[in-house]
Amino acid sequence: MAYLLLILFPVAMAACTFLLRTQTRFVLLAATATALAELALLTAVPVDGPARLLGLTLVLDPLSRLFLAAFFVIAAVAFAAALKLPHGENFVPIGLLLLTFTAATLLLLQEPFVVALLLISAAVLAVLAVIDLPTGSPLLVGRSTLAAALKYLVLMVVSGVVLYLAFVLVSIYEDTGTAQAFSATRLILALIAVGFGLRLAMVPFHSWLPDLAEHAAPMVTMLIITVINITSLLVLVSTLQYFGPIILFDNDLAIATMQALGVATALLGAVLALGQDNLRRALGYLVVYDAGMVLYGLTTLTSVGLAGALFEAFNQIAVVMLLFLSLSLLEQPDGRPSNVPRRDLLRRWPVAGVGFLVGGLALLGLPPFNGFASKLLIYQAAAQSGGPALVLLLLSTVVALLALGRVAYERLLGPSEDAASDQSPLLLGETDLDRLAPRALTPEPRGLAVIVCALIALCLVVGLYPQPVLATINDVIQGLTFIRA
């Protein structure tokens, strides 16, 4: 019953909020309450207590429980933040349905065919959120937004189809027990690598993520990166757990290739972030860099690497939320045209500016924030498997740090522009109309500033005291059969 409720309650609430979607405030509060109710409901679901429904096996393992709780919290925060942030008319129903699909995916991890379909369905839903406009908006959906949404749709469907095919081949292989006329395991591993590579924005399939970061609403991008991508990562872990003996056996070269892809993703993400002038796009590439780190940790197939990868994925939830929430606040209208570059964002929006910098540092794994412990584990795994990988990962972190430094220098740490504009005299031929409009100096929304401060505190607390989360992850890792060391 609790399983069903966990899946169906958000569906019912999504239907209600869709009908009432024009009552924005009420709908957002209801959605926040729904996410918190789901969190409470999660405590009632027995861990590792399988149940059968329509011929399918539902089971909640400790890792899924940990991440599902984080998803519900982050969704509640996103819905609460949307009270003060611009969002699409259907953001709430789509967000609730995404929670449903996520819960169903994590409960049905033992059913790979269903999971592949649920992942595609979640992505199709997310596309609708990307192209959503606020209630009564007199604007058209941007051309770039449409292009980004279409790209995401195509890539995610292709990813789902490839994964589905991989699962079909695995099931055939399991039944026959032998490769028929060709090395099936390599083909299956290649399909799985392509499928998850597309979903997790690995090089060379990464281009959708910066596009979405640039053109979609920040809260939507945040939900896609945290909820959908990290769910995909958990599905990958579960795939390795169930099919590891088949697809990993005698496939060292393929695994080394995947590790190389992880390193390449981290390095290329960092380099591309360094070359970006656009704040959102730079952020998108920094997330790609982090995804590369996670993939590398996972594909080392060591307990240290896997613990680092899962812990980093967990940290990513809070960090990406902090970054995109801060970004939304930094992009608030302040009386100037949106194409005028702002260079004093930290002075103008101090809480959001600090939130962005802290989020960036945490994403790169700098102490004392939460990314430090997880990145350290990944570096440790890299050191165990050989020198070049460690050097390249450290190099990518240095480049990513330079990218963050560039963004901070160019957009956040500049001198205050308000004081300067008041004192300079009019030049010959210049009128008041030629000058930039004075900024509307409204303070930061208090509620959002509190949320940003809470997320900063969370990053700091988890960074200083990572043991509880790490202990849960380590407990789960003990039970994974594909770990090699």
Binding site: L140, L153, V168
Partner: protein, 233 residues
């Protein structure tokens, strides 16, 4: 000679080659009908329904209804291209932009050019060679016709995505890919379960709706579904 397999082959070829929705959308519908027909011939689908003396399987009926609905959604989308899209709610700037887009779209209507069909044609040749060869080299489902059909659907779907010139054709490519997965699951699964079957049908419909929605938004913005206009700098 397996007539449904030939039907699937021809309709996929039309979808990959043709640029006009008046050919491609009906081809998709016929494709779904041929798929249903093919499934009724297979031993792994046991008939459990009776329609006027004819024995059919629920699985086949569900797939036919889904295919019919998906093709209908795309057909309605294509037919309504010419309609104005919520212009009454737009501000002056957006309306001016729409007028510019309409003029640009008018200019970009091009006559028939043989060169537009070169890449799709050779893609078709490549897909045909691969779909005939792969079932012999790497048989996944049995019999050969089913194996050929799912390989062919997947390959033509992918090539349709790659060579697509408008959003509707992208949708057709995606639907062919999903159809391929649907067929291979039905053929490989020892017993077709209700939940995956329902989810596959739901996915097909949601995908068709999403493509229709994106098409509507794109047409509302650019007065064309041409991808070249979407990616124009």
């Amino acid at each position: 000679m397996n007539i449904p397999a030939i039907g699937i082959g021809l309709t996929c070829a039309i979808i990959l080659l043709m640029r006009d929705w008046r050919f491609t959308v009906p081809a998709l519908l016929i494709n779904y009908l041929c798929l249903g027909w093919m499934l009724t011939q297979q031993q792994f689908i046991a008939p459990d329904l009776s329609f006027g003396g004819a024995q059919v399987s629920t699985t086949v009926v569900v797939k036919l209804i889904t295919g019919l609905a998906a093709a209908l959604i795309l057909a309605i989308t294509a037919i309504t291209f010419s309609r104005e899209y919520n212009t009454e709610d737009l501000d002056e700037f957006s309306l001016a932009e729409l007028r510019r887009a309409a003029r640009r779209a008018q200019r970009t209507i091009e006559p028939f050019r043989m060169s537009d069909y070169v890449v799709p044609f050779w893609s078709l040749v490549l897909a045909a060679a691969a779909a005939l060869l792969l079932p012999r080299l790497y048989p996944v489902a049995q019999p050969y016709a089913v194996d050929f059909a799912w390989y062919w659907l997947a390959l033509t779907g992918l090539f349709t995505l790659v060579t697509a010139n408008d959003v509707l054709k992208v949708g057709l490519g995606l639907l062919l890919c999903v159809e391929s997965v649907d067929l291979v699951y039905t053929a490989v699964a020892g017993r077709v379960q209700v939940f995956p079957l329902a989810l596959l049908s739901l996915l097909t419909l949601v995908l068709a709706l999403a493509v229709a929605y994106i098409s509507g938004l794109l047409y509302g913005r650019l007065k064309t579904l041409d991808l070249a206009e979407l990616y124009r700098r």
